[in-house]
Amino acid sequence: MATRKLLGAMLAAFALASPTLANAQVRIAYIDPLSGAMGATGEHGLRELEFAVEAINAKGGVLGQKLVVVPMDNKLSAQESLILLKSAIDQGIRYISQGNGSSVAGALIDAINKHNEREPAKSIVFLNYAAVDPDFTNDKCSFWHFRFDANTDMKMAALTDYLKGQKKVSKVYLLNQDYSHGHQVSKVAKAMLAEKRPDVKVVGDELHPLARVKDFAPYIAKVQASGADTVITGNWGTDLSLLVKAAKDANLKADFYTYYGGTVGVPPAMGDAGIDRVKVVSYWSANSANAAGQAVQDAYRKKYGADQDPYSQSIRISAEFLVRAMEKAKSTDPVAVAKAMEAMKIDGPFGEITMRAEDHQIIQPMFIATFVKGGGALKYSADGTNDYAFRADARVEAAAAARPTTCKMKRP
């Protein structure tokens, strides 16, 4: 069986010229890391996409066609992604889903713009479910790109809105990874705090190298020495878990406002250290979902395990938008679908979700939640755990989280 597959692989290497058979399918290329350091995150996303697609297919698909996910491992490399994009185009795939790494997303947007200009008949639409660089819906906005996650600025806007009401916050420490995302978080945090809470003092603005720090104790010592009561961080992965663990070890009494406290691997790695210390700003709050949203979660957890949190709902939402747009356009042609998707609204797990036409940025409510012991009213656990959960502290309405855009969209 497997040998035959291998043989197939070899043959395919030489016979890539053959056009692919199925035309009665809508295929989505999922270009994300499925191996390497970020492989777990990529696999999580793939599972959510496959789950969403199965649900859609169970209801008969779209326009009589089934949706099919074609996973492609880009190893978190921009260059690799461009090659996979070409491979997807060759296979006649017109829809790309990606989310991990703004570097990859940026490269894809660039390449798709060029491709669609050179071969408009084979245009590609890019469904971005998690790459949050604000540029993509501002200066670098593209007609072919749709973002289903809140961008860095929107999350910070929601966060600072919430902080307006938190009078006990007086000294803030910014601690971020030394690369573009961390720089962006630090920059926008300073700007928005100055605007919404001028009384708050930023007592530290620290950048540490990405994924290179083993022991965060020295950083925590600095935070402690600064007297900060609040830490804002865009860190993800082990850079976040280790930071929180070090804070617990030193008994640092400060709240950690994070972007990625709920993502793959972080809740189990933090464990007790995160309780009542870690907060998350996100469009996702498992325990605040409406009945429909709960039904989706129940099905997901039943299928993949009770500790699995479908926190990348943006993936499911993107699939839903795609299907609705196809139905509205009565076509699977990318240009028509993209046009139909603009300004479309659907009911999400927390209320109405809108795809803003000006810049293709999704607009939805946001939540500030705290990492706590699970159980009781908190039905749904945090990802990868059974006994921890996120408790929503506040909801920021869609309108408040939306930010103005500088996008000047060029439409075909």
Binding site: A37, A40, E206, A221, K222, Q224, S241, K245, N251, G271
Partner: protein, 298 residues
């Protein structure tokens, strides 16, 4: 002042942790002349084995069993892989361990998945030990420091006070001679390799729950352990110890400094902290390739 003392304490802690991570590498290097690129991978295996074993029989038995198990695997790898590579030269050996690191990471992916596993500090060692100014110092870190110092003592004794240690050192320079005296040199090397791997695994059992047990943990410490061994002097246990402390303290203090570097507009000393060890290594290798206390060049 407060920051100074906290930093000093953190620096020493981190230094001892570095020593714990690199002692097995030094052992193998000083006795066999092999730079084991897969060292960090065995550290990772130790953490995963520690996680699995401790979930059945508890943390303390795992502290013994996991290093033994991983050490046995190491010995087998020496017997059936390294030895073969050794025959085709030094470079082949180095590349063998390089490839091994690659493969072990894949196996870990396969067996335990790509996400971190919930490997926790045992309750008896959890919690603060004492309070320095406003910060607490966790018991578990003190435990780690104690183990690290214990490793130093044990290794030092092994190398300089036991017959086995002297024999292995002799075998390193004159294998034929030692063999002619009736000792089984290959088996000796196998034991040493297994021992060094076991030390890495012990560090893994202890480090895995203090930090995060995940497939990327090997890559995260992979190169820093080389820095320690190289700066300390290839093949010198005391050198590695001194280098660990020096690097630990230096790096920790660098984090505390917000002074902006001249010529680089927004870069502070603190930002460069984790890169400093590599800079030290390169300078050391150029100026004094023997390292702080090494006895020979490579």
């Amino acid at each position: 002042m407060e920051l100074f003392f906290t930093s000093l304490l953190n620096g020493v802690t981190y230094g001892l942790l570095l020593f714990m991570l690199s002692s097995g590498l030094t052992l193998i290097f000083s006795m066999m002349g092999v730079l084991n690129f897969a060292h960090a991978s065995f550290y990772m295996l130790g953490a995963y084995f520690g996680y699995v074993i401790s979930s059945y029989v508890g943390f303390y038995p795992a502290l013994l069993l996991a290093p033994l198990a991983v050490g046995a695997i190491g010995a087998l790898i020496e017997r059936y892989g390294m030895r073969r590579a050794h025959a085709s030269g030094h470079l082949a050996e180095l590349l063998f361990t390089f490839g091994l690191a690659f493969l072990i990471e894949e196996v870990v992916h396969l067996v335990w998945g790509k996400s971190p596993v919930p490997y926790r500090v045992p309750p008896s060692l959890d919690g603060p030990l004492f309070t320095l100014f406003s910060a607490t110092f966790p018991t578990y870190k003190a435990f780690m420091m104690a183990v690290s110092v214990g490793m130093l003592a044990a290794l030092y004794a092994l190398l300089t006070r036991t017959r086995v240690g002297l024999l292995v050192q002799a075998a390193l320079s004159k294998p034929d001679m030692v063999e002619a005296l009736g000792h089984n040199v290959p088996r000796l090397f196998m034991l040493v390799f297994g021992g060094g791997v076991g030390l890495a695994a012990l560090a893994g059992v202890i480090g895995g729950n203090a930090f995060v047990t995940e497939p990327g943990m090997a890559a995260a410490v992979g190169s820093i352990v080389f820095v320690v061994v190289v700066v300390g002097g290839l093949g010198s246990i005391t050198g590695a110890f001194v280098a660990s402390l020096a690097i630990g303290i230096l790096q920790t203090f660098a984090v505390a400094v917000d002074y902006k570097l001249p010529f680089f507009d927004r870069v502070t000393v603190s930002q460069t902290a984790p890169v400093l060890p590599y800079l030290i290594m390169v300078l050391m290798l150029i100026a004094r390739p023997r390292g702080l206390m090494g006895t020979r060049e490579t």
